[in-house]
């Protein structure tokens, strides 16, 4: 079967169904195409500006399979380059982050400035170079597009992509809900955790916006914090919000378009949240319906194809680096409002550690569930994953009066995060682009 037909056959929308072929998570040809099209052929999230605050600060990471680094230039702009010496490809920046005026290759001593220009070829004068080869011929290869929205830096190896804000579509309304939490902006707290998951990247994309699993996989977390709070006299921010895990709060799920997804659930008791101490200040700056979205609702946002921006028990940036069809590397960082009170910062971190780490008591269970779906998917005699849940309750665009309160007009929404119709947006976008890509 030709590739485009194989791709088309993997998403089954016949007879009021929505099913996804389990081979989509393990097929090596599919994986290579995804890397070309989505990760190395479009916008991906790389870092938050607070990670490269000062001139010379750099941060190295990957775009798809390609090593890259970002640098804060002397003029305050952000440079982005392939992390390989222009000479013979040795990794130029060996550390994850640091500060440098010049980037000097450790192999032959060539040096490059923040603009990627080659400023030194070791022993250039005795190099017997022809006229064709001089320093101006040996700049670093820039990342085609680097742009940021509210401090979140995105990049694309392909130049021909839409403006970042157009690509982000309605997700900007949710990014704003986080970015607006401090007049001084947000900061990534030093430290991170990286884990290798034996599951396809799309399973992580699904899992981070899966409201339906919360009341099963995380009921043990809810029970654990309930017994913690029953035996100890914990107050204020030391308490843990668990309304969403007990499944008795308002919630919703979103297809923002372009493969971006989101879920939210009402906080049963927002006074337990680290943003609560700033309520009065926020009320002076924002209308009540915006405060409702910002403070009273936990939100998980997936920005296609590689990032989550979460503001739920704590606040998190989670990035996905696919390694192979069945292997994905995930890094989590805590992002927080600059200048929040120490008590709130400590509570935010403790909630992060409780929930969001593979050493914690919830994400560890998520990852085990994710890996179980990957393993189970090899039972090929059973072909389909089912996403019919919620199909009878989809609202389109302007029918969502709730999102309209923050200027959000989604592709679709369901007023229940147990509904799985949001994934239709992800897989229709995936299918459309993959078929296009297979023909080009």
């Amino acid at each position: 079967m030709v590739m485009s037909d194989r791709i088309a056959a993997m998403i089954d929308e016949r007879e009021g169904r929505f099913r996804v072929d389990r081979a989509i998570y393990s097929d090596p040809d599919i994986f290579e195409s995804e890397m070309d099209l989505f990760f190395e052929g479009g916008w991906v999230f790389l870092a938050h500006e607070s990670q490269i605050r000062n001139s010379g600060d750099y941060f190295s990471t990957r775009i798809g399979r390609q090593p890259v680094f970002l640098v804060r230039k002397k003029d305050g702009g952000i440079g982005g380059f392939i992390n390989a010496c222009a000479h013979r490809a040795a990794t130029l920046v060996p550390l994850e982050h640091g500060r440098a005026n010049l980037f000097t290759c450790r192999f032959h001593g060539w040096a490059f400035n923040h603009d990627g220009h080659c400023v030194k070829i070791k022993n250039e004068e005795t190099g017997a170079y022809t006229d064709m080869a001089g320093k101006d011929q040996f700049g670093l290869t820039p990342i085609a597009r680097v742009d940021s929205y509210r401090g979140f830096i995105f990049a694309s190896l392909k130049a021909d992509v839409p403006a970042l804000k157009d690509w982000l579509a309605g997700t900007t309304s949710w990014i704003d809900l986080l970015a607006d939490q401090s007049p001084q902006g947000l900061e990534v707290i030093p430290g991170s955790s990286t884990y290798t998951v034996y599951g396809n990247w799309k399973l992580q994309a699904e899992n981070g916006v899966d409201g339906y699993h919360v009341s099963t996989v995380h009921r043990v977390f809810a029970a654990t914090v309930a017994q913690r709070e029953a035996k100890a006299n914990l107050g204020g921010l030391q308490r843990t919000e668990s309304g969403r895990m007990l499944g008795n709060v308002d919630s919703g799920s979103y297809d923002f378009g372009n493969g971006h997804l989101g879920i939210w659930a009402k906080r049963a008791d927002p006074t337990k949240h680290p943003l609560w101490p700033q309520k009065e200040r926020l009320e002076k700056s924002f209308p009540p319906e915006r405060i409702e979205w910002m403070l009273n609702r936990g939100r998980n946002l997936f920005v296609f194809p590689n990032a989550f921006i979460m503001d739920n028990p704590s606040s998190q940036i989670r990035t996905l680096n696919p390694i192979a069809p069945g292997v994905c590397e995930i890094t989590v960082r805590c992002i927080a409002p600059v200048g929040e009170p120490a008590e709130a910062r400590a509570a935010r971190l403790r909630k992060f550690e409780d929930f969001y780490l593979t050493t914690g008591m919830a994400s560890s269970d998520d990852l085990a569930a994710l890996e179980a779906t990957h393993s189970g998917g090899f039972g090929r005699a059973a072909r389909w994953n089912d996403f019919a849940r919620g199909m009878g309750a989809i609202r389109h665009g302007a029918e969502d009066t709730d999102g309209a309160k923050i200027g959000l007009v989604p592709n679709t929404m369901n007023a229940n995060w147990d509904h799985e119709a949001l994934y239709h947006g992800f897989y229709r976008f995936w299918k459309e682009r993959m078929i296009e890509g297979s023909r080009s």
């Binding site: 971190l349 050493t359 269970d365």
Partner: protein, 165 residues
């Protein structure tokens, strides 16, 4: 036997007993090794060379304050309801190179190295690092007041719970 040797024997006995109780999953007996206001701390790496220094305002992999917080972890492990804990990995702790630090009076400390091999759904995984302990005398027993765990591995496969380190 000198006083130093006697203390060293007591410290090593406690460290080795803790390792055995974790490997044998005797959680309740393990909890009894800790004082009520114990701190169980595994800082996160903030760069290739540095760890979180201030556990309150920095990111940690584990920062459990009070024996009750260790009980939370045991509650979850024993519930049978934690996806990551069924089936539960088998482990072997090797604890060695024990050095006493500040070994006098009420504030007894020790540093040790650890290797833990675990076997579970991801196959065999070996992780390693060091421990820094503070002990307190309680009713004639030496108990753990602070356990700081440094894990040199920072790209993790599978869950890492209190018994994997």
């Amino acid at each position: 036997m000198s006083a130093d040797t006697a203390l060293r024997n007591r410290v090593e006995d406690l460290l080795f007993r803790e390792a055995a109780l974790l490997d044998e999953k005797k959680w309740q007996a393990w909890l009894q090794l800790y004082v009520e206001d114990a701190v169980f701390w595994m800082p996160a790496w903030t760069s290739e060379y540095e760890l979180t220094v201030d556990p309150e305002l920095g990111l940690n992999l584990l920062y459990l304050k009070g024996r009750a917080s260790l009980e939370d972890r045991v509650f979850r492990i024993e519930s049978g309801d934690s996806f990551a804990s069924v089936p539960m990995a088998r482990t072997t702790h090797l604890v060695g190179t024990v050095m006493l630090i500040d070994g006098n009076g009420a504030d007894i400390g020790a540093r040790a190295s650890w290797i833990v091999h675990s076997y579970g759904i991801h196959g065999g995984i070996t992780r390693s690092g060091s421990y820094e302990y503070r002990f307190r005398e309680e009713a004639g027993d030496l108990r753990i007041a602070v356990k700081k765990i440094i894990m040199i591995d920072d790209k993790l496969v599978g869950p890492v719970d209190i018994f994997h380190v």
